[in-house]
Symmetry: D2
Subunit: 459 residues, 4 copies
């Protein structure tokens, strides 16, 4: 075996340094070692059971792989400069440890089916972990909703106060988003159900392997149906990256809101010191860095998705080296999601909502303009005429510098509402008037909370 | 009602021309008129049944909307310069037709819940249509597989001939890809099950609307659970765009392969004249334009997805005008998918596979190198040593300019295989040796074909 | 000439409908007719002058093309179903008008060099127009800066009030951004200097064309240097899309700020009615739609850039049909920029800045915390200790619910500042203390304004 | 100074672990230490010279920073868990080394101006390095062109052989692409000319710093003009990422071509063993991994650009934590470019072009179809009629299974060319007929080569 090439028979010369640097993926894929060792153990065991290698070879390999796993676990594994990727490093070390038995491990296998098997196993494991993280964030939001059923704040449209809503209602909006993320994550797991091992380089393998046994041992539901597709496809990764990109959007929107809420203008929340940063220059600053980063990571997750889509576009079947780029995008997204979810959960769990500031903002008069228009409708006005008249009233009040609630006969008259009995307008009245399913009235939010609890419990 | 503003009460002045041009979305969203009219009819009917408007108003509105639909259908609807979008155009015309009754249509409704309802209905309808298109392409591929069970061609890795495979096996790889696309499309439909109408601007509405009745009449499974989420979310669109981006990748890979197959180098296929173009200058050219465009559209679909992800990132709840951009991306993707699928199906259905050229390429000697290595393994060699020796043999043959099948004692000796009984190597033997589930041997491909038929039949 | 194929010699059959729909680009590229006609006229004239066609043929062609231009200008040009793109439509009509002379137009030319010539001419013209739009926006910002030299507002970091700055200083930040955009636009024009005509399909043409003459007549600096590169490259388009994407970011940031400033929380500006929208439901709303759309268009421009990058990646030389997709992205970006710039200029030109609200926010005590720390430094404190002490003081004040300006002996003592002579802190003093080049003190902003005026005048 | 917060005065509590993990950027930005130390030394020296700190403090700081640089260079620098980024690590260590003098370093400075200064210095340095790499690749291509002036190969359109061209001509196409990349790289350097230091957090600083002196010492042309813009803008990075994305496209296209040329179908090149990989399973494979990776990296570079565009879109001025994400994208692109350029240069420098295979493919008869049509034009035929007739001839030959060069009276008659004197058609004749500037005839390619040499020499 020549230095720097694990499989050198076909080659007269060594790799160039510039080529090796570009080509080597070890720095990226070394994190796959647990999956790689597990898949190799299952493969070798099956080879032994099928009589493709001897029982003794299978035993030797298994022992060697266990030792390699221990070395990797302990950080004692000595990677060599020529190790191109985690797979060659493990096989190289195995051959050092158990000689010709090690040289039998790759019987009936290719890196093409091996790497995608490892990756799907890895993805399935991270998905399970991230499901727990989603649930934690969901529970934090539920607790916030439970605590703030009767806290009112302005709901916004177009960046402006639009109508009062319950804070519980607002927080629950994010629970439903996460619910859809959770469903997408379940779809990712479904996309990891088929075991590629046994597909070989692309055509299948020339030995009577037991693909079902290996698949089940490694936690897959079944072997993949088409060997060409199995080594060429990165659909499960795209499914994950689509999940991550959408989750990123949801967390980005929440982050953006926390930044606004923590701003001097609204002061709707006080950030816990544990989730805020200072300024290196300005002594008074308490910056919502976690929220800003939650806002800022969405484009990165979208770029990871876009990057892999770009790699795959126009790529002929079956395996091409281009596919090696898949892991850069996948791992970056996995790491980003796993940094974000706990930090966002911690931020939300420790946020102090400033109920009085929220209520004051929610109680501003003009926010009830629609309630006045609805009142006119109940008095028989066509809605569009009511909307027009109340709009004129708002303008009249604005010109006089008064609140809608303080509109007097002069303003009402100017708006053609001189003879209208204007009802008492209040934020509380406004929210209670939205007594439709999904609306912000108390009873409906209580119903919603119950449904959301059941949803989160199912994650 | 002031010219150029459907709801002008609050405003003293008209819109500026530069603003109107930027703001107006009619050119984009006018295609939503069937959904908009249907949703408005259901809404008005329900308002009447709930006694929120009179039965007569409801009847007037329904008649007016039917007439509007007829005008739009016939192309007689006169859009006015001030019509900002399809919703305002319809309401404006309705008021022209039925006066104050028309001014009652928007009772208990906002454009915010209206537009997302229309969009989900539209998306659901296109998804159903596209499911049929997927099925047609699947059937074309199945027929190709059935016809070419015994056609061999080289399978490629790294852009090079790697191993012989059955053409049926290769074509079926795409069926499995489309199967995953079909599953994602089903998930899109699931994401369209909740009716936003009744969510109002963001908080719900102030009248006793029957959200369940409207939802069911419009084909939804239920009303949405949270009014803020309902008007803010574009998740179903992202799900669709993720589906389209992945489908785009699959069609792009197929297109890239057809371009290669139609090239002078392989001549694996002859394009039907009906799916090829000439050159304006070079008289001999017969260009695979449909295949090239299938290859080229994937980045556009990815850009549509990336664009909407970008719009949503960092956007605070609830509705913001930014969301208007959603339809540019959605409609572009819908149109692109609906252009691509029939053209790709037609291209594949009319492609003539040149069986002899494929077979000749598949029969090239070196493609059986793995079979020789596998033979050595069965003789007791460790795989890695066998791989090394066969690699050396390939190099020796290459240096002497002969095919692997013609290796003689001199080459065998040079590769350390002097005393090895070299078996007869053939493409047919090679494919039949891959007799594992998912492999390219005949029996396995027949099994696979049966499974693929059942899959496509379920779309 | 067969129906539906302008160049049918090589083909026995017609195009399929599904193929024609995918393949035809007329709906997209018809806007290129002025460039196409101009380039064809220059080409034909040169062919005549070089004796490649007769003088009479050249005259006939020129007359025919003038008539076609008139028809297109007047909207009288009858496109036929078989017209694949604007080039074939023009050549088809020319042949109808002038017979065999028309059949000579395409001598020594290919659609490959024709289309990229047309596109570069188009791009150069739009760039000139957009330079004027940039200048208009720059002038609006300059006028704002001149009017608001002495208006203070809080500068923000991390979404929070950080330090007082002059509004002029803030507005000028955008002028410098636009200055860089203007430079990039100039680079786009430079990238359009080489005329591809004469490159033929990819190898050059077989007649003694005068490439210099055609280049100069069409406003190019010179003919392109390499025919393969000329028909394959879309670099100038990528340069434009990069420009547009960065401009989009700048306008998006400005839009985001206007949304914040127009919000109920800051009330820093009043939008002119001409650049605001109402709500279909909520009568009181005055929405900053233009600003929101300026914010929202950046992802679309980025998607246009990403899309074309994706089309070009991995595409072998020379011309491929994939390149037809370039115009979708280019034209979308051109249209978006030309919608945005005037609308943003109009929004900014009509914005009323609410000086009192800005000043009040800028005068908030904690914003001068750095000035107190700087004072301590001037008293001999190490900066980091001063920062620490003032930070502690801010915390002490916050706990007691008082402003930094109102800190008394108790708070000062708690922060270890008991024996410090605290200076008078004010927003005005704070800005004047930043008397460094590029800083926000009056004299420096006046210097900056002068430089910015000179910059904008050069656009 | 509390553990884990360099500036803790304002905070009562420590950071949460989940927050610290998300927030810390040390792993990313530690590579900036040389720039950070250099900028801090220049800043401190200036502070001393301006009398803002004492000469002794300045000396102490300078000595401390030199020692820190030596520790970092040697790998001896002990990072602590609380080090949030490279800037805080350096300041923390400096304070350990020189006490209160170290606490004076941050006088008149913020991380906001510090980090962007460091980044621009870094970018300028990498750009200089990469200019050299571009030149090396340019020289490799020039040498290839010089060696292959008389090597013919088919030029391709639509993935099919279109016309014979000189290999020199084809290779030079890439030199012109790189020339545009080089120009864009020069623009990146121009975009790094303004020194942000002195902009403080966003408003400027409160001490009489000498911004010009610092700027010049650090290699900038001048201080930045507007402090708000200076800390908010990432335009220079976007310029770099746009450069990298376009370079990525060019290398991707070259990579795609090398993959094709190395394929079994064309066998146009033999890859050097030093730039090829084997297969773990298939002994005969010699894979063009470097070329595949060159093809595959373009989407990653595009994703880096798209990612940063996404972060910046909609971000209000001035500094926000979101901007920290800039370095992830920048560094990934820098590393990718620096991996790619040498590997592509090495691949191209060691490629063996198989002249005979190329010539054989270029000599295929139909490629001269245009030359026959041009001949007819010279005989007086309108081009479109000539195109039609030659197209019919190609079809007739194809139906009879003969080459265009072998067309006899029967085929000529069928195409309406019975009475035409058909000239001798050859690849050599075809290329020499393209004797226009930029064309593929020998003399023109020699002219082009001279111009390309001058261009590369100027890089």
């Amino acid at each position: 075996m020549s230095d720097g090439r694990l499989w050198g028979g076909r080659f007269a010369d060594e790799s160039a340094e510039a080529f090796h640097r570009l080509n080597a993926s070890l720095a990226v894929d070394r994190r796959l070692w647990p999956q790689d060792v597990a898949a190799s153990r299952a493969h070798a065991r099956m080879l032994g059971e099928q009589g493709i290698i001897s029982a003794d070879d299978a035993r030797q390999i298994d022992g060697g792989l266990q030792r390699i796993a221990a070395e990797l676990e302990a950080g004692d594994f000595a990677f060599l400069p020529g190790d191109e990727d985690i797979h060659t490093a493990v096989e190289r070390r195995l051959t050092e440890l158990v000689g010709d038995s090690g040289r039998r491990l790759h019987t009936a296998r290719s890196r093409n089916d091996q790497i995608v098997t490892d990756t799907l196993m890895y993805l399935r494991e991270r998905a399970a972990l991230q499901a727990g993280m989603l649930r934690e964030l969901g529970e934090v939001l539920l607790r916030g909703a439970e605590a703030h059923l009767d806290t009112l704040l302005p709901g916004y449209t177009h960046g402006q106060r639009a109508q009062p809503v319950r804070l519980a209602h607002h927080l629950l909006a994010y629970v439903w988003m996460l619910g859809r993320d959770r469903r997408r994550l379940a779809n990712v797991v479904s996309a990891c159900e088929e075991c590629p091992l046994g597909s070989g380089a692309l055509a299948g393998v020339g030995f009577p392997v037991d693909r079902h046994a290996v698949a089940h041992e490694l936690g897959f539901a079944r072997p993949s149906a088409n060997s060409i597709d199995a080594v060429s496809s990165r659909d499960a990764l795209l499914d994950y990256l689509s999940f991550a990109a959408q989750l990123g959007v949801h967390l980005s929107r929440l982050g953006a809101e926390v930044v606004i809420w923590a701003g001097d203008e609204t002061r709707f929340v006080t950030l816990d010191d544990a989730y805020a940063s200072g300024s290196s220059m300005l002594p008074h600053k308490k910056n919502p860095d976690a929220a800003e980063l939650a806002r800022a990571k969405a484009p990165r997750l979208a770029a990871d998705l876009g990057g892999l889509l770009g790699v795959l576009a126009g790529l002929p079947l079956a395996y091409n080296k281009d596919l090696q780029e898949d892991k850069v995008f996948l791992f970056d997204a996995v790491d980003t999601v796993e940094l974000l979810l706990p930090a966002v959960a911690g931020t939300m769990a420790t946020l102090q909502f400033r109920v009085a500031e929220m209520a004051a903002a929610a109680g501003e008069g003009a926010l009830a303009a629609i309630d006045l228009a609805d009142h006119l409708v109940r008095e028989g006005w066509p809605f569009r005429r009511a909307h027009e008249a109340v709009g004129a009233l708002v303008r009249a009040c604005e010109e006089r510098g008064i609140s809608l609630a303080d509109a007097g006969p002069s303003e009402l008259g100017a708006a053609g509402l001189g003879d209208v009995s204007v009802p008492q307008l209040s934020a509380e009245g406004s929210v209670e008037a939205k007594a439709v399913p999904g609306g912000t009235a108390r009873a409906q939010v209580l119903d919603q909370l119950e449904a959301a609890r059941a949803l989160v419990a199912s994650w």
